[in-house]
Symmetry: C2
Subunit: 503 residues, 2 copies
């Protein structure tokens, strides 16, 4: 369907229409929207809720923050054993001695975790930026949950980030932590880390990211086939759902987990074309990595079954919010069929049909233009403004403050740059912020509190301007426009049915 000529023309024209219609709306109603906002007491862009809908836990602190944390830790903890390597136990002092570095002299330059010109279209270089000073030892010590110290340092630094969010009061984040599917013990270890170090924060929800690295585990003989990887990821969750008493830690942790992500470089090519003839997971025994769509389908299938089971038992369910459309084939974006929302969505630029479908279905998109600017697409070419104007449900997120941002307030930096460069109005940025809360994994209670009790209703009725600072004029415009597009299609289907009746 996405390659069909007439469909492409139709969608392209509808999208152009949506753009022009918004400009007209803007010209006619901009001042009226602003007037509405000015009359809202005590609410402005600074105190509307904003959720960082896409942020990786291992890079959720700024480079300066990580540097200071390492230096402070060294001051008090240099004689502590922090790493076991080749059977040898090493203290923090010994680790730095091996690296031939004095923590006091470390700088953000020598830490070298910031992306730049050199990472553009080089996901491999970008990935290695996760290693402070280029040393995987420091990543292991400071940015992992399951190391020699059971991830104590990583928990501490995340709690500092959480503290900053709580101080800001109006900012929330959904950090993504990894489950690899290497062994079935990962869940236990992760939930113990969460509970023992009390990583809970009212301003944070958690997302589980699964890297698409079956080929690495297979090569190391950690798993015999793809099915085993899926089992390592999902079986513990089924067990915890069926027998919560036996898996107390995991059950507590799962209350704060809002969904799953699938991560890796989308531009990697795969020779296999996923179809109903593809091998079943237990038969995927080659050393090759399965393609993107194969991963996504099997994660989706497992999450669906798991959610149904959990719903039956009155337990929380999980969203599926994969990275999608950051690079690679546009067919990745077909997974709007399987996803609750996606991260990036840049490639929607290239497919009018998919873009229009994302609009019609209002599939939320967590966009990170500063991340894209360092990796895949220059800021000025980012489609975020265009998507927002057309009415796609976009939010702003940081992806990796450690690699991309400069100030102490990465999410505000992201909003500031978008607002400055694209000359967004206050109503625009507040609409993005509202979208971020809507598409986040925050609880129903939180959403009622942050957006108003009717937030699930469509159009202006669902908007409490005193909380969202989004003009009702804007809400009405969005609602009318969407209803119009939908009824257009409904009418076409109806008349088509009528015609065939008389055929």
């Amino acid at each position: 369907m996405i390659a069909d000529g007439p469909t492409k023309t139709y969608c392209h024209r509808r999208l152009n229409f949506l753009t022009s219609k918004f400009y007209l709306h803007e010209m006619l109603n901009e001042m009226a929207e602003l007037k509405e906002l000015k009359s809202v007491p005590h609410r402005d862009f600074y105190n509307v809720r904003k959720v960082d809908t896409h942020i990786h836990a291992a890079a959720c602190m700024s480079q300066k923050h990580l540097l200071t944390f390492i230096q402070e830790t060294y001051k008090t903890d240099s004689d502590r054993v922090v790493l076991e390597k080749d059977g040898q136990k090493l203290t923090l002092k010994q680790v730095f001695h091996c690296l031939n570095k004095d923590p006091y002299d470390l700088t953000v330059d020598s830490l070298d975790v910031h992306a730049g010109r050199h990472t553009f279209h080089r996901f491999d270089k970008f990935n290695s930026k996760y290693n402070p000073v280029g040393a995987s030892e420091l990543r292991e010590i400071f940015l992992k949950t399951d190391n020699y110290m059971n991830g104590e340092y990583f928990a501490s630094i995340i709690k500092e980030v959480a503290h900053d969010l709580e101080e800001s009061k109006y900012q929330h984040a959904e950090p993504r932590v990894s489950i690899y599917g290497r062994s079935p013990e990962e869940w236990d270890s992760l939930s113990k880390w969460f509970i023992n170090h009390k990583v809970y924060s009212p301003n944070m929800r958690w997302i589980i990211q699964v890297p698409r690295i079956y080929d690495i585990f297979k090569e190391k003989k950690l798993v015999p086939n793809f099915s085993k990887m899926l089992e390592n990821i999902f079986l513990p969750l089924f067990e915890a759902t069926v027998n919560p008493q036996k898996h107390k830690h995991l059950n507590v942790f799962l209350q704060y987990v809002s969904g799953f992500d699938s991560v890796d470089d989308e531009s990697k090519h795969s020779d296999h074309m996923f179809s109903f003839r593809s091998p079943k997971p237990e038969d995927w025994t080659t050393d090759d990595n399965p393609p993107y769509s194969y991963y996504i389908f099997h994660m989706y299938a497992n999450i669906m079954v798991l959610n149904n089971l959990r719903k039956e038992r009155g337990l929380s369910t999980f969203q599926f919010r994969p990275h999608c459309g950051e690079a690679g084939s546009i067919t990745h974006l077909v997974l709007l069929l399987t996803s609750d929302n996606i991260s990036h969505g840049l490639n929607l630029k290239k497919s009018p049909v998919l873009q229009y479908l994302y609009y019609l279905a209002q599939v939320p998109i967590a966009m990170s233009p500063l991340s894209n600017n360092s990796l895949f697409l220059e800021y000025s070419k980012n489609p975020l403004r265009e998507f927002l104007h057309k009415g796609l449900c976009v939010s702003l997120s940081t992806d990796d403050p450690m690699q991309f941002h400069y100030t102490k307030e990465p999410l505000m930096e992201e909003y500031a740059i978008a607002a400055q460069l694209w000359k967004l109005s206050t109503c625009d940025v507040c609409e993005i912020a509202r979208n971020s809360v809507l598409q986040s994994g925050l609880s129903h209670q939180d959403k009622c509190h942050f957006l108003g009790v009717n937030y699930l209703k469509d159009g202006p009725e669902g908007n409490d301007i005193r909380r969202s600072n989004v003009a009702q004029i804007r809400m009405a415009y969005r609602h009318d426009t969407l209803c119009n597009e939908l009824s257009f299609i409904a009418d076409a289907v109806k008349s088509d049915a009528m015609n065939s009746q008389y055929d």
Copy 2:
């Protein structure tokens, strides 16, 4: 000269050459520069000194900061008399009552001091943004030095900004305050404000801005001719220089004043063409405003004479750092003849001869791309990166955080956006920061401390990489390139002289 065809071609080609040469330098030396920076202990972009070289005191706080300050002040001071209007004394409560506003309900939206789409090419609208809630009363109460409370609130909020700078440790600012030339008492009032409220901060130096609004004073019959305005501005300074004991307050204040600025909308047209036939200031008695060049020349002449007098007596001297080349005729930029450095310089884009002269003479330019983006030139078209690459001495400054910035760290926001959008390297941003210290009015001792004791020397010798974090490779490149251009011209002049000798 700036209109001469062959000269234009020559300069244009030299500038293109400089651009290409820098790209070559970058390609060949980028990694080597980075390696140099990585090996510098304890110094990175975050702890090199940065001076905000162009910032207006009345807008040096963020919009959110001003809002909070007004609300906090109202909580404790609502019954205080703060304004005298039409002979009536009004308390803060009464003022807000007249405006029909409750300070608790105020938001940044209703405060309405932020620039946006509506201020582009509308300097008039921009100017009115200085009035919180559109009310000149609030500007009078909170953002003036000589009001009913002798500027107590304005002093308090500036001290809060200074406190943030001191906390940051590595950030400095040179706020600009106004002397209008309306009456000779302005200096006394300003210096009393400075001393009585203890506005001094080690992280701040002061610049005096003179608005070009003779026509308004003339119309109100406050001054009979232009000479009287100049006298009001400069005579008190001559008197304080000749007789310091009689003007103690002013003399103390002048120790912290580093220079003068001339401000207003440069795009305003004037019918008068300044030349040696122009009327003398005492004969400028029409109601028309003199043109830009007339103002600049007469300010320059007065500052020169004043500086010579002060130098003789061992007193501090003043720089002349006017707004120039933000808009209007390119001929404004000819004032590199009269200025120590300029603010904006955007129009150098349009004149290769002037741009090349600014390069050769290394006239410092304080640029504010975010301000330009809201007023005169889109960010993507800003020439800052191009100027930097060619080797012009540019710094980054905020102009008006209240109107343009979003985060709590406006200067860092300015650097962050430039670094992100233009993919500047660490060496690039540190070079800009070093330029900002060099071109600032900080004392010689401060500059020795921040840049190294040899900072006045040319080339790598003058650079202490442990303080500036600018690679010596970069310094050598800049120095060689400039010497090369200069010797080119020297050679041409020499051979020209030789030729005429044999003519």
